[in-house]
């Protein structure tokens, strides 16, 4: 038997993870794929209806609209969270005590459950008794409508998601920034590179894999994730924040059309997997090349 120190662990090591993934990941996806060809209210047995759900899906205006809102939300979240998380993360990577204290405060939202965050913000944004009412009275505005405004509600959600998820991504960047070898900075300093130059030419390229990992998490997360929207606006006002996962949930658990909801779910799985594959391919992450060749 060959047992060198570099030998990779065998199948047995993967088995528990594979079992869990099969049981709670692949299994449900397969069942949902089957249900998407049936009509089922949740009671009784599913009835095979062939492609009915899929043709309904193509004609459902809320699927197109929901997809647009989902993609808008994903893009806005990425655009707001990535630069801020990168900047704060690199800043927090310094070893000064003040940075540690400020970061600790900043990480607080990480400790709160999503539901608690959504309910707190909903109370804060209440049009009659929340912050918008104070702002209205202070500036003599005519209304204090935030979550009920078709134009503002989505941005309010983007802001709340930013507040909630920034610390997590910041943590990723902080850890990664601490891994950048000090010798690179020392060499650059000897060559007379300025602070911004060092940030742009050393820190950012060195964090490339972290940017990709964090982006994949954001993209895939925003495809499947909906509880903040459910609790804050439930897709309202009207359809202004009805993201696709919420439409799926409402079709499944409010309208009790499990078959149709499953079709939407399959669409979401395909979209989420597709988008993350694209991110990984386009960025060259899949080649797993080192950022520090020759170091």
């Amino acid at each position: 038997m060959r047992a060198s120190a570099t030998e990779r662990p065998g199948f047995v090591w993967v088995a528990p993870a594979l079992l869990f993934f099969g049981l709670f990941g692949l299994g449900p996806v397969a069942v949902v794929a089957y249900l998407s060809f049936t009509s089922w209210s949740g009671i009784g047995s599913p009835e095979w209806t062939g492609l009915d759900n899929w043709s309904a899906l193509a004609g459902d205006a809320q699927v197109g609209g929901g997809l647009r809102i989902t993609l808008t939300l994903t893009a806005l979240c990425w655009v707001t969270q990535t630069p801020l998380a990168l900047a704060f993360g690199v800043w927090a990577a310094g070893h000064q005590r003040v940075r540690a204290v400020v970061s600790a405060v900043f990480f607080l939202p990480l400790l709160l459950s999503t539901a608690a965050i959504a309910l707190v913000w909903k109370a804060l944004l209440d049009p009659s008794f929340g912050v918008p009412a104070q702002v209205r009275d202070a500036f003599g505005l005519t209304h204090s409508n935030v979550l009920g405004s078709s134009s503002l509600a989505l941005y309010a959600i983007v802001f709340i998601l930013l507040w909630q998820f920034l610390p997590f991504h910041m943590l990723l960047y902080q850890a990664a920034a601490r891994q950048v070898p000090q010798s690179l900075y020392e060499a650059a300093e000897l060559d007379g590179a300025s602070g911004p130059q060092r940030f742009l030419r050393i820190t950012v390229p060195q964090l490339r894999h972290t940017v990709i990992a964090s982006s994949v998490l954001m993209v895939v997360g925003s495809m499947t994730y909906f509880e903040t929207v459910l609790l804050l606006t439930n897709g309202g006002p009207g359809n202004a924040t009805r993201i696709l996962p919420l439409h799926m949930y409402n079709q499944g658990f409010a309208a009790f059309q499990m078959g149709y909801a499953s079709a939407i779910a399959v669409l979401l799985v395909v979209l989420g997997a597709g988008l993350s594959l694209i991110v990984v391919r386009v960025t060259g992450y899949s080649r797993m090349t080192s950022q520090r060749e020759g170091m």
């Binding site: 047995v12 528990p16 949740g42 009784g44 009659s128 409508n145 009920g148 309202g236 059309q257």
Partner: protein, 431 residues
């Protein structure tokens, strides 16, 4: 021990562990035990009353009953899933109408018609208009469990007096009051429009006033073109007209009912009127007791429409909530006995009245007179017993998928993002 061997041991141990974890998740169903499960919504005041009924039942019967409660929003999903599984309850709370019909069409509900025929005294003790809501295709499937809950117009007496107004008797009065109140700088009507069902109250009352109860009957029967009835379109236009007149203020689309802010707006006098179910009195008593005790909280029926086909006494709301028996239950007989012995008993009805409810029971005027909130209780009981029709809340009466689409479209209608014609066409296309 070689490295490879050790990995195998660790690997197989974790495999065994994960198998244990995975299989440990399943629990045996409550319905299969020796006790009878009664499922209801969480409601401190009412749960206690049902609990007392259960205790009385358990004292004299072999199969003990047990009450299990759930929060409102999660309950429908929980029940839907449970009724399809071995974990189903024996007796379950429901809303009657389309909600109940969902379960009867799957053969999940025990037919109580025989029981009603064998116990005419029990059957006749309930208000027929309320009992009928739990009848599907001429058979009874449910027994009223709570008080009647019509939708009524609450108002802040101080605010109306301050503006020199009387509570509106007709829609024209209402329009006039809206203009006067807006000049006074008061929001005429609170509308928690973050939730579509509050807008439904306005819409369904207006449809009834314009076209009478048959208009909704046709919709609920699934008749072709029922959504395009002129009365439906006119009621939708009236809703949009109310929004444009500023009846609901600028912020209605973000006001929420569940967090109590809508009721608070009426109590603090920021708004003058509030169309809501009779259950809101309990909310006001809990959160704004001074407002109720000072006598400033007034209530009246929905305004009449001159020239409309609907009768001014017709009402909309939740006739009651119901207990039904699961047809797959091992304890069907015990469950039926429990309902017959408890739900119309003097003790149960008295407790309901003491909790501020108005039971759906005949001949209780005297007892209501003696209750703590006699004025409101008597008003509600009269309203319901004299009503020519009691239309169930549309979102409960319709099938869940139609109800879901309707509530979303109502929000769009009130926002002005959807015309009445588009609304009607969309609902027609759902069949």
């Amino acid at each position: 021990m070689s490295r490879t061997h050790r990995t195998r041991v660790i690997g197989s141990t974790s495999l065994a562990l994960s198998l244990l974890l995975a299989t440990g998740c399943g629990t045996s169903g409550p319905g299969s035990g020796e006790t009878m499960q009664v499922w209801a919504l969480e409601d401190a005041a009412v749960n206690e009353i049902v609990e007392q009924g259960i205790e009385a039942h358990n004292g004299s019967h072999e199969t003990p009953a047990e009450l299990v409660t759930f929060v409102n929003d999660a309950y429908k999903q929980r029940l839907q899933v449970a009724l399809g599984s071995p974990n189903a309850p024996d007796v379950f709370f429901n809303w009657g109408g389309g909600n109940l019909a969902q379960y009867t069409s799957q053969g999940r509900v025990h037919d109580l018609t025989r029981t009603m025929e064998d116990n005419p005294g029990f059957r006749d003790s309930f208000l027929p208009s309320v009992l009928d809501v739990a009848a599907v295709d001429g058979s009874y499937y449910g027994v009223p469990l709570l008080g009647v809950q019509p939708v009524v117009m609450y108002y802040n007496r101080d605010v109306l007096d301050g503006a020199g107004l009387e509570p509106p008797r007709t829609i024209d009065d209402l329009y006039e009051a809206i203009d006067v109140l807006r000049e006074e700088g008061v929001t005429p009507i609170t509308l928690p429009g973050a939730q579509g069902w509050t807008q439904l109250m306005w819409f369904s009352y207006l449809v009834d006033r314009v076209g009478g109860p048959d208009v909704f009957q046709a919709i609920s029967d699934g008749e072709e073109g029922a959504w395009e009835h002129p009365a439906v379109l006119e009621a939708m236009e009236m809703c949009q007209d109310l929004v444009e007149r500023g009846a609901f203020g600028n912020n209605f689309s973000s006001i929420d009912y569940d967090n109590g802010s809508a009721s608070a707006l009426l109590a603090t006098g920021e708004s003058a009127m509030f169309l809501m179910g009779s259950w809101d009195l309990a909310q006001q008593m809990e959160n704004n007791p001074e407002f109720v005790e000072s006598g400033a909280l007034g209530f009246t029926s929905f305004p009449a429409l001159e020239g409309g086909a609907g009768e001014p006494g017709a009402i909309v709301g939740n006739p009651s909530n119901y207990f039904s028996v699961n047809s797959d239950s091992e304890h069907t007989e015990a469950a039926v006995d429990f309902l017959v012995e408890t739900m119309a008993s003097d003790e149960y009805v008295d407790e309901l009245i003491a909790a501020g409810q108005v039971p759906a029971v005949e001949g209780i005027e005297d007892r209501l007179q003696e209750s703590d909130h006699a004025e409101f209780a008597t008003f509600t009981h009269e309203l319901v017993s004299e009503a020519p029709t009691f239309t169930q809340s549309w979102d409960q009466a319709l099938a869940p998928d139609a109800a879901e689409a309707m509530l979303t479209n109502l929000q769009l209608l009130f926002l002005g993002d959807l015309t009445p014609e588009e609304f009607a066409q969309d609902m027609e296309s759902l069949r």
